[in-house]
């Protein structure tokens, strides 16, 4: 706990809370360097090490999410194969800055986290792996708050097994 990583993740949280904070931290070291681009450049290493979805969300955003019916997730009832599960999300929430996909029962809960700059639509589709039947959680960051949707997807052939 004494490692400097903690400082970095704290910094990262700050950055992710809003584009405005970025200039203060001074990470604008990229050639094109618009404020949010610098934030986008950081890969959330620690969040991708967390085993549970709660820890991953905390590491990624530094706060907790509340369920919202404004977050619409489209995922199959039964995955045809855990190695390739198409999951997509759309939302009517305004000012979306980030969308993340988590699988509770995977060895690493966080699967993907997308940064949504202003002007990009809050709709994302991707294909994820699921080790077994699990809740899939989508977290949407909008206006600095976190909203989530959860759906159980049954997996009969795991994407992380043998």
């Amino acid at each position: 706990m004494t490692r400097t990583d903690n400082g970095f993740s704290a910094t990262r949280r700050l950055i992710l809370q809003g584009a405005g904070a970025v200039a203060l931290v001074g990470l604008g070291n990229l050639p094109f360097a618009p404020a949010f681009a610098a934030a986008n450049d950081k890969y959330p290493e620690e969040a991708f090490k967390q085993k549970t979805e709660a820890d991953a969300i905390k590491s990624l955003y530094g706060k907790t999410a509340e369920a919202s019916d404004k977050v619409k997730m489209d995922a199959p009832e039964i995955a045809e194969n855990g190695a390739v599960v198409p999951v997509s999300v759309s939302t009517t929430l305004a000012d979306v800055t980030s969308i993340s996909f988590l699988v509770a029962e995977n060895p690493v809960a966080l699967v993907a986290s997308y940064k949504i700059p202003a002007g990009t639509m809050p709709n994302v589709a991707n294909r994820i792996k699921m080790a077994k039947t699990s809740n899939v959680i989508v977290v949407v960051e909008a206006g600095g708050k976190l909203y989530s949707a959860t759906k159980e997807v049954k997996v009969t052939v795991g994407g992380c097994g043998g």
Partner: protein
């Protein structure tokens, strides 16, 4: 040890079960009639799945289950066989060391001809599948043959199928005793139970399509070869018709034959013939 005693039991139970049924006389062999077979085969599947249109059968399990269909539609937006298809196109157009190309070995430079294979070679008296023709083309041009079950062959056949998409299978069984014998042998292979599990191809793909075996929704035999080659999520990659046949055999605990052995060529001939008129849909994506 636990496993082995289970094996013993299965073997014994199987043998006894067969013995119990050994008595009733088998239907006597009629004369070989591919036209009647094709009609009966299609009628069986059309009756079993009255809601499906004929061309739906070439999409296998996806036509049988709404949830699967949706996942397939999502995948097809940018299908997983895309890379194989591009590789195949590149390989197909690249000349051999002697300057010739694959196209030179085929009618119409190999474009839009998938639906004509397998074909019966009257000179040789045997069935020639597309995979076999591709390797013969390579060897005739001084190139080593590809493995029938690996990515290169899948890529080449993927490209050739792609250029033939939508064209109806047009397999011919000429009135030649050797062709009829090959066809009949393919049919026999299709219906013959084998392996310790005592399954025939038909056990899964005639009796139970649309049902789940463990986790998989079984594809109907009608139209099954139209989608070859396939990207299978289970394989994490592409598979040829040869790969499909050999893995089917080992899954039922039978030792697979060598790819492109007569029986495999003949069963592909039979299955393609009875799917005549249904469109080529390969390369396909499957769970």
């Amino acid at each position: 040890m636990k496993l082995r005693s289970a094996t013993q039991f299965t073997a014994a139970a199987f043998a006894l079960a067969v013995l119990a049924f050994a008595a009733p006389p088998a239907v006597s062999a009629d004369k070989v009639d591919p036209v009647a077979d094709e009609k009966a085969f299609k009628k069986f599947f059309y009756d079993k799945f009255p809601k499906l249109k004929p061309e739906d059968f070439v999409n296998g399990p996806y036509s049988m289950d709404a949830d699967l269909y949706k996942q397939w539609q999502d995948k097809e937006q940018f299908p997983p066989y895309e890379f194989s298809l591009e590789l195949g196109k590149e390989m197909f157009s690249k000349p051999f060391k002697n300057g010739k190309t694959y196209g030179d070995c085929f009618p119409n430079q190999g474009i839009g001809i998938r639906q004509d294979y397998p074909t019966f070679d009257e000179k040789e008296g045997k069935v020639i599948t597309l995979e076999l023709a591709l390797n013969r083309c390579r060897e005739a041009n001084g190139e080593p043959a590809f493995s029938y079950v690996r990515d290169e062959m899948a890529a080449l056949t993927a490209y050739m199928a792609f250029t033939s998409r939508g064209k109806p299978f047009n397999i011919k069984v000429p009135n030649d005793p050797r062709a009829l014998a090959a066809y009949e042998n393919g049919k026999e292979y299709f219906y013959t139970r084998r392996g310790q599990l005592n399954f025939s191809c038909a056990t899964c793909h005639v009796q139970s399509p649309g049902e789940r075996v463990r986790t998989e929704v079984l594809a109907p035999a009608l139209g099954i070869v139209n989608a070859m080659p396939i990207y299978r999520s289970e394989w994490n990659g592409m598979g040829t018709t040869s790969r499909r046949f050999t893995t089917c055999n080992s899954q039922i605990r039978g030792v697979p034959l060598t790819p492109q052995d007569d029986e495999y060529r003949n069963v592909e001939y039979y299955l393609s013939y009875v799917s005549n008129g249904l469109p080529i849909s390969g390369p396909g994506a499957r769970p």
